[in-house]
């Protein structure tokens, strides 16, 4: 690692005013530290968000579940509130990486990073969640822009994510056997605004599969989606899977997600 300065503020305002052009926020460090170690990234200063109590925690009010940016994957996986409001989200969090990664990694860090194979983006887009920052609120669909790119400005801090509680939802992923990242993952939700289907891992960025949404709107069953194909052009291809393979996985995972929906 190149050398850097370190600061551990105790409030959001303090963190935002501390961050300069070549500085980075440090959340769970499960992506940022490996990248710094390999010298794929560099920072003048790390601003550790670990001391900011207001960024942590889970709450439910009325029809909305709220998760603070610094809430760890393990806390989302084990939360009784998440299990009763959106069990699919607890399931998703419990399958991110491995136990040690879940003990450090956070929802804010995961979405700010926007890895094309990350799990949370599928849940945010699938549920029509809202990302709250120190400056504004952004709908999940406007937040995730492209490969590792989000709507966040350099000095903008994710503070929490709010999820409208769906009638039911399910998530299924085909994990990369080495990293457990999603080779393809599909999040399906039946919401007051209709059915939503979000796909991660298959392309450069999370996207909605609207043909499947239409089919599930009239018939919410695995059979309704298992035959629906996704165009392979534009999907990712690498040593792990071809674009065609990923296109097929979307149908298989969508059917499993519908079956798992509760």
């Amino acid at each position: 690692m190149y050398s850097f300065d370190y600061e551990r503020p105790s409030g959001v305002n303090e963190a935002v005013s501390a961050v300069g052009e070549d500085d980075k926020f440090l959340a769970g460090g499960q992506t940022l530290l490996p990248t710094l170690k390999l010298r794929l990234a560099q920072a003048d200063k790390l601003i550790d968000l670990g001391g900011i109590a207001e960024l942590k925690g889970i709450s439910v009010s009325g029809s909305e579940l709220s998760i603070g940016a610094m809430t760890r994957h393990v806390d989302v996986a084990n939360s009784a509130d998440v299990k009763s409001a959106i069990p699919a989200l607890s399931h998703l969090a419990s399958h991110i990486g491995d136990a040690q990664v879940r003990n450090r990694g956070t929802i804010g860090g995961s979405i700010a990073n926007n890895d094309p194979a990350a799990d949370y983006p599928a849940a945010l887009v699938g549920l029509g969640a809202t990302v709250h920052t120190d400056k504004r609120s952004i709908s999940a669909e406007d937040f995730f822009i492209d490969l590792f790119e989000t709507a966040l400005e350099e000095d903008e801090l994710v503070t929490k994510v709010t999820f409208p509680i769906p009638e039911k939802a399910g998530y299924a992923k085909f994990p990369n056997p080495a990293s457990r990242f999603a080779l393809t993952g599909v999040f399906v939700a039946q919401t007051a605004q209709g059915v939503r289907v979000a796909v991660t891992g298959a392309g450069p960025c999370v996207f909605r599969q609207t043909d499947m949404e239409a089919a599930l709107s009239s018939n919410f069953s695995a059979e309704a989606v298992s035959g629906i194909k996704t165009e392979a052009s534009g999907l990712s291809a690498d040593i792990h899977a071809s674009a065609d393979y990923r296109a097929n996985l979307i149908s298989v995972m969508a059917a499993r997600a519908v079956q798992a929906a509760s």
Binding site: M1, Y2, S3, F4, D5, Y6, R8, L26, G29, Q30, L33, P34, L36, K37, L38, L46, D48, G50, V74, G97, D98, A99, Q100, V101, N103, R104, A178, S179, R180
Partner: protein, 155 residues
């Protein structure tokens, strides 16, 4: 330099470190506790697993400054009064290691997993150890060791 203080295996320690010092470097180089291993550069192998405030974490993927004020346990902290921890004893008894490189991390993860799942099934053991890689054993005897230890640990 930043001053960090933490409790490691029950002892209060304190040192001035550069902010880019990893927790594993601090443990191995400052404290000379070399039971915690480094097996990769990519946060994938789990050989460096220690407990921070009771949770298993990869000490190669945490800064020493992030552990300021924390309670850390390493493999050296498991044995009590010269008696192996039941998990260590079970690995010995069940041939749960060959070269031993992965073993400290495996044992730290296994202790945490049994704490969270007092009576784990074989499947639970295998999925909960996903963050620990072993190049030698084929895992079979590791799983057997964890199962045996969970029974001895009163699960």
């Amino acid at each position: 330099m930043t001053t960090v203080s933490m409790t490691v295996n029950g002892k209060q320690v304190s040192a001035d470190v550069a902010p880019n010092t990893l927790l594993v470097q601090f443990i191995r180089e400052n404290l000379r506790l070399t039971g915690t291993h480094v097996g990769c550069d990519t946060s994938q192998c789990g050989a460096c697993t220690v407990h921070v405030d009771g949770d298993s974490v990869k000490s190669c993927t945490m800064l020493a400054v992030q552990a300021d004020g924390a309670d850390v346990t390493t493999i050296e902290g498991l044995a009590q009064n010269g008696e192996l921890h039941p998990m260590q004893a079970a690995f010995k008894e069940n041939h749960g290691l060959q070269c031993g490189f992965c073993t400290p991390g495996m044992i730290m993860s296994a202790v945490d997993l049994v704490k969270r799942n007092p009576n784990p099934s074989e499947e639970t053991i295998r999925t909960e150890l996903e963050g620990n890689i072993c190049r030698c054993t084929g895992y079979h005897n590791i799983v057997k060791s964890v199962k045996a230890a969970s029974e001895n640990m009163g699960g």
